[in-house]
Amino acid sequence: MNGTPVITTEKLTRDYGNGAGVFDVDLSVPRGTVFGLVGPNGAGKTTLLSVLAGLRRAGSGNVRVDTAGGRVLLCPDVPDFEPWLTAAEVVVLSAEAAGVPVTPEDAALALERVGLTEAAHRRNARFSRGMRQRLGLAAALVCRPEVLILDEPASGLDPRGRVDVLALIRSLREHCTVILASHLLGDVQRVCDDVAVLVRGRVVYQGPVADIADRGRPSAWHVRVRGTAREVVELLSAEPWVTRATPVEAEPDLVFVEAVAAEHGETGIPRTLVEHGVPLVSMNGYEADLESAFLSLTSTDATDGSTR
């Protein structure tokens, strides 16, 4: 049933010493979603994914995989295959090794979904990293996994390829649960329903992407008015919730405004301008994305283990 956890971890710890590893990770991955896992380099993402995929053992804690016999597949960030196999042969071998019945048509369809039809009968030895990543995805799709774990699936792709692969990943939630680790936060924001932020081996946030992005709501704006910026700076500086208001150099009608909180600025700036009869032309948030929330979360002390 969609929404119920397909993978749950309780106090999952794998300690490699010197701070490396994952610690007390409580994770709940809802079935039928695309679940993002983000964190800085060395945060423990690959360790966590490997434990979830059964490639590494947990030092302590529990991992519960509720797949009713379904398969958990992991696509590494740099997939590698026998160089003497063609792309189509890799896909067929993938299914057969997993004990999944496969026809040449199934393999061709999987390759078509990742845009590798033209390379189907070429040996993969000289494939670029991006092509290997697509091939890894095709080889996983043909196995019809219940949980598909993707480690940086779009990191080697060109912009067009990235858009295509992300669209494919987004469409997969109808067939399986996807766990997506990426440092490309825009990608995570675009395709994931839920996200966990891992910092120094600990989960510091877990919840809907919309919520974490909301944490990154701007509390600073560029406000363009009809009139002079100096007048607006004086008006806004008088407000108690404004922490900073300055004109923008070389832009006579533009003001940079910082507030103590997003909601204060979002309502307070237009209200103040209306009250004083200053026409508002535009108001653009400063750093309005997951990245700012991520930076905010990862810059705090992760060792307190605060999670949502």
């Binding site: 490997s50 995929a53 059964g54 490639l55 590494r56 053992r57 958990v72 597949l73 992991l74 590494p76 740099v78 997939p79 590698d80 295959f81 026998e82 003497w84 196999l85 071998l93 993938s94 057969e96 090794a97 997993a98 004990g99 290997r132 890894g136 080889a139 196995c143």
Partner: protein, 256 residues
């Protein structure tokens, strides 16, 4: 049994030309060794008088016999042949040298046995087939140049020697499960077999040592009874099974 992984290993043997290389290697030594035994006295006689070559060497050479010709095949192919087989086996078994490739297989197969057994069985069979082809080539060349050899005993000798090659592949499997990469696997496998040869020199181990099996190739056509090599064959078979069980365990315990 998942036959796809066995077919994959057969494809590795053919696509990488490994099987052809093994066959060519052993058949070359099989065909060339009796020729060398046959021509050596004449070569030495022809070289008499050349500066640095001692006179009378040709007279000191033993007579070229069919058994000596077959023994020469074993002597010539033994060291390089085992090294070649170890390289081939390590090429298949050292899959943890590449994390991406290892992950591809490990997340799909039901357990470590499915990972190890095809990678053991196919190179082992290829090694036995190539060695036997070399023995047949040696038998045929000997027949043409020197004299008759019993084919049945020659093949029985090849079978005993092939048992050692199977054992060597099992050693490689065990090492690969611990060492991971190709070069460490080859290096430690060679070291393990050298140690085994040294142990085989001990009188108490002698007839039970797998290395004793190499002597069967020339001894059986010379009339030695098969029972002379049964202790070594038994210990080699038991050792191979034990090594494989440990290899499966090692691959299972290893983390990517």
């Amino acid at each position: 049994m998942n036959t796809a992984l066995y077919r994959n290993e057969i494809r590795r043997m053919t696509r990488t030309h490994t099987l052809a290389g093994l066959m060519a290697f052993f058949v070359f030594f099989g065909a060339a060794s009796p020729v060398l035994v046959f021509l050596l006295p004449d070569l030495l006689a022809a070289m008499e008088g050349v500066e640095g070559v001692q006179t009378g060497m040709a007279d000191l050479m033993p007579e070229a016999t069919p058994v000596a010709a077959l023994g020469s095949y074993v002597e010539n192919a033994q060291i390089l042949g085992v090294l070649f087989v170890l390289l081939v086996a390590a090429g298949a078994l050292a899959l943890d040298g590449s994390v991406g490739r290892s992950t591809f297989y490990r997340v799909r197969v039901p357990g470590p046995a499915a990972l190890v057994l095809p990678r053991f069985a196919v190179p082992a069979m290829a090694a036995v087939a190539a060695y036997t082809a070399g023995a047949v080539a040696a038998w045929a060349t000997t027949l043409l140049l020197i004299g008759e050899l019993p084919l049945g005993a020659t093949l029985a000798g090849a079978l005993f020697t092939g048992l050692f090659l199977v054992f060597a592949v099992a050693v490689t499997a065990l090492v690969a499960g611990r060492a991971g990469g190709l070069l460490p696997t080859v290096g430690f496998s060679v070291a393990a077999l050298v140690l085994l040869v040294l142990l085989g020199q001990l009188p108490v181990v002698g007839e039970w040592s797998p290395t004793t099996l190499f002597a069967a190739q020339a001894a059986l056509p010379d009339g030695a009874p098969v029972t002379d090599f049964l202790p070594a064959a038994v210990s080699t078979l038991v050792g191979t099974a034990a090594l494989l069980a440990l290899a499966v365990r090692g691959f299972g315990a290893r983390e990517v």
